[in-house]
């Protein structure tokens, strides 16, 4: 028997069915709009996918450890609100808030702190992650809106730099997203802490018996998720130039969809960073393509829904094909 290092197990098939769906969708859009298959458009898609992708990278770590972070969008909102509070001055003449470079350390520190708070609350209060982050989703959003008084704050200065900067004609957020995804992948597959995180997600009971410091590892995962939320928030705000109450609203849904669609198991222990990236791209491509072909606004959600249903059927069908020859009855297959 000879084996090889298999960093992230049993996700291959799902990633392939995702590749197939993404290819199908792309070919469809390309045939309807000649501007779809275009280098400029690829740049757009990547740039628009960046916030989702970054959020999804953090969420992949959390879900791999058998957690969930519903508060990621609220963290994006609150971290940016805190950043403005700490490093913004309202300029009445320009109707905008001037910012200093301090917004970056403040937003990032806030993201890390809020994520850590999620983990600490889960650990100390012994709650399920779902309850904790459902609570902090509400709490963080309330705090964020409290700071901005639910108003729209136009921003200027260094806060815009990250979202708008370009390198070789490609938006810096794209590099950030790729970097985060690679870092996430290396972390999960190559570092001892990443492997321990997968172990905790795979079997919390074994983790205790093996002497893994589950609580510390969860802090790492949730802090990473908070960090990713804050970075996603910085990109969104940097690009659009406002901190608005809807910032990050519903982000948790998109991001969790991307992670699960990408083949990471909600029951922990199995993760696919590559799948997460692909699924983030798929979700963005749908919106992008719909606008390019000038679709009816009411059709957007129909297409989104149908593609989700196709993706899940493709996955179920491939699982069926794979296990067709096993004598074990379907109910007992994993």
């Amino acid at each position: 028997m000879s084996g090889r290092w298999r960093p992230l197990t049993r996700v291959g098939a799902q990633v392939w069915s995702l590749v197939a769906v993404l290819a199908l969708v792309s070919v469809g859009f390309a045939s309807l709009s000649d501007r779809f298959a275009d280098l400029d458009n690829l740049r757009n898609v990547l740039l628009q996918a960046a916030p989702t992708m970054i959020g999804a990278v953090g969420m992949t770590l959390v879900i791999a450890a058998r957690g969930i972070d519903l508060s990621i969008g609220a963290i994006a909102n609150l971290a940016l609100a805190l950043a403005l509070l700490g490093a913004g001055t309202r300029s009445e003449a320009a109707l905008a808030t001037d910012t200093t470079w301090l917004v970056y350390p403040i937003a990032i520190a806030s993201g890390l702190a809020l994520g850590t708070l999620n983990a600490v609350a889960t650990n100390v209060l012994r709650l399920s992650a779902l309850i904790t982050t459902l609570g902090t989703l509400t709490l963080y959003r309330g705090l964020g809106l409290h700071i901005t008084a639910a108003g729209l704050i136009a921003v200027r200065g260094p806060i815009l730099a990250f979202g708008r900067a370009q390198l070789w004609g490609i938006g810096v957020p794209v590099f950030a997203a790729v970097l985060m995804a690679v870092a996430g992948w290396v972390f999960l597959s190559e570092t001892p802490t990443g492997r321990r995180l997968l172990a905790v997600g795979g079997s919390p009971r074994s983790a205790v018996e093996t002497g893994l410091r589950t609580e510390r590892l969860l802090v790492v995962a949730y802090a990473a998720s908070g960090l990713c939320g804050a970075i996603a928030g910085l990109i969104l705000v940097g690009r659009v130039g406002v901190v608005n109450p809807d910032l990050g609203y519903g982000m948790e849904f998109t991001v969790i969809t991307a992670v699960v669609l990408g083949g990471t198991s909600l029951f922990g222990g199995r993760a696919s960073m590559f799948g997460t990236v692909l699924a983030s791209l798929l979700l963005t491509t749908i919106d992008n393509g719909m606008t390019l072909i000038g679709a009816d606004p009411y059709a957007y959600d129909v297409v989104r829904g149908v593609i989700l249903l196709i993706a899940v059927s493709a996955d179920a069908a491939s699982a069926h094909m794979r296990s067709r020859r096993s004598p074990v009855i379907p109910e007992l297959r994993a």
Binding site: M1, R6, R10, T191, P192, L198, G211
Partner: protein, 506 residues
């Protein structure tokens, strides 16, 4: 009894006590274990062995008493302490990460690293060293554990504990899934560790293991130390009396003979699934106990799963004279064929549901009435109470979670679940695995009683004394095929083992 005062030996347990919800499980327990010796910790289930093991591996803290280790006194250990002190534990319920590789399982929580990355080369070399060189197990270090058989997983669990420990190794019933050669290799490894000045605490209830390995024996009963000494001080009879607190005479009983005119209850003709089972044919009569022997992975459990429809396959099954074609667990139950499968936690117990519901899970059609399928809760409760009494399930209340029961009582409750249905044919897959001597004897008595009442049993067991004590005939499986059928007179341990291991009569 103790050669050293507790603080002088490597490990000294001094007057340790522990209660759960007010019920004492350990009282004033003291013993020592020193480098270079194998201490056998024997006792029935519920005697407190597992609690003691959990205290020593840092999973729970004792209420009173202290643990001395290498000259230091600790009120309690944490898993991290255990790790630092070099205490390795093999838990009875495997504590592996199925989603990770063998090598990672062996090394966690301290993975070797280079420049912040996992050092795979070193990890692979160290895994091979412990797996192949020490235990002689040909398991590739990069295989995910989920792809291993139960026996292989047990070897990984052992390798993991050996790798972690540098001073004390605790083994809790480590051989339940092992074939004979694997078991022999494990014993070799354990002896070699002793020679390397390890202290070994070996928890078991298998008598032959006690006398094969022990340097010293400590007996636990009802949470107290009730005896100890060298194997020479304690012959088997005396040891068992200490453990159980009463004499056991049933070991010599012979099962009642099967009547010549007993009807055929189960007839199996060329059963197979194309993967694990091939052309298995046999007959089972009313009142007969038919043993199905073989090594782990020989296809024994798969035969059982084929019979009740948990696997698809070909071949004909005739149940009480009628063909049994559309096989499913539900149809099997209706036709009077039940399976008590091996993996209790995974496949049988509803751990976070009430004991009552666990007992009645196979009785639902019986306690339901009317077109709506309403449950007669009173009847269900009575039946459950009755079953708990009949099958000696010791429980804190029928509404308590199944989780609250000890392993042995869980097993009795599950066997009770199935036998309540008064089946014609009962398949028992490792019915006494992880069960203490008292419960095991009760289980054997029960099987004999039921067989005498006409139930046909197909008994799958790795425990050869059990097989020889119970079975009228023994079939031996090798690589999914029946390679021998032995009558009671022919069924001797070495013959069964030879057939099971090689597929041929030696």
């Amino acid at each position: 009894m103790t050669p050293d005062p507790p603080e002088r030996a490597l490990l000294g347990v001094a007057s340790v006590g522990k209660s759960f919800a007010g019920i004492p499980v350990l009282q004033d327990v003291s013993f020592t274990a020193d480098r270079g010796e194998i201490l056998m910790l024997v006792g029935e289930n519920g005697a407190g062995k597992s609690t003691l093991k959990n205290i020593l591996s840092g999973l729970i803290a004792p209420d009173s008493g202290a643990v001395h280790f290498a000259g230091r006194t600790l009120a309690a250990l944490s898993p991290a302490d255990a790790d630092r002190l070099g205490i390795g534990t093999i838990h009875q319920e495997l504590s592996l990460f199925e989603n990770l590789s063998v090598a990672e399982n062996i090394h966690l929580p301290r993975l070797p690293q280079r420049f912040g990355r996992v050092d795979r080369k070193r990890m692979e070399a160290q895994s091979r060293a412990v797996l192949q060189d020490r235990l002689g197990a040909a398991i590739d270090p990069w295989t995910p554990v989920e792809e291993l058989s139960l026996g292989e997983r047990q070897m990984v669990e052992i390798a993991k504990a050996i790798h972690r420990s540098s001073s004390l190794l605790i083994l809790d019933e480590p051989t339940t899934c092992l074939s004979l050669p694997e078991r022999a290799r494990l014993f070799d490894a354990v002896r070699r560790l002793r020679d390397h000045r390890y202290a070994i605490i070996y928890i078991t209830h298998f008598m032959e293991e006690v006398y094969e390995l022990a340097d010293r024996i400590t007996v636990l009963r009802d949470g107290r130390v009730v005896g100890g000494g060298t194997p020479r001080d304690m012959p088997q009879e005396a040891l068992m009396r200490r453990m159980v607190g009463r004499d056991l005479a049933e070991l010599t009983t012979v099962p009642a003979a099967v009547a010549d005119d007993a009807p055929v209850m189960l007839e199996v003709d060329r059963l197979g699934d194309g993967v694990a089972v091939h052309e298995v044919s046999f007959c089972l009569h009313a009142g007969e106990i038919l043993g199905l022997a073989g090594l782990m992975g020989a296809g024994r459990s798969e035969v059982a799963e084929l019979l009740v429809g948990l696997r698809h396959g070909e071949g004909r099954v005739t149940l009480a004279g009628r063909a049994f074609v559309e096989r499913s667990p539900r149809m099997a139950l209706e036709r009077g064929l039940v399976l008590v499968s091996e993996d209790r936690r995974r496949d049988q117990a509803f751990l976070n549901r009430a004991v009552r519901e666990n007992l009645s899970a196979a009785m639902l059609p019986v306690v339901a009435s009317g077109p709506l399928g309403l449950l007669a809760l009173d009847r269900e409760r009575q039946a459950a109470e009755q079953a708990a009494m009949t099958f000696h399930v010791d429980h804190p209340g029928l509404e308590a979670f199944m989780l609250a029961l000890s392993g042995g009582n869980q097993q009795k409750a599950i066997v009770g679940r199935w036998l309540q249905r008064a089946p014609r044919v009962c398949i028992l897959d490792e019915p006494t695995k992880g069960v203490d001597i008292g419960a095991r004897a009760e289980m054997h008595r029960l099987i004999r009683e039921q067989a005498a009442a006409g139930v046909a049993f197909l008994l799958i067991s790795s425990d050869l004394p059990e097989m020889m004590a119970l079975a009228h005939r023994v079939l031996v499986l090798h690589k999914g095929r029946i390679v021998g059928a032995l009558s009671r007179a022919e069924a001797e341990a070495h013959r069964i083992l030879a057939l099971a291991s090689t597929g041929r009569v030696s």
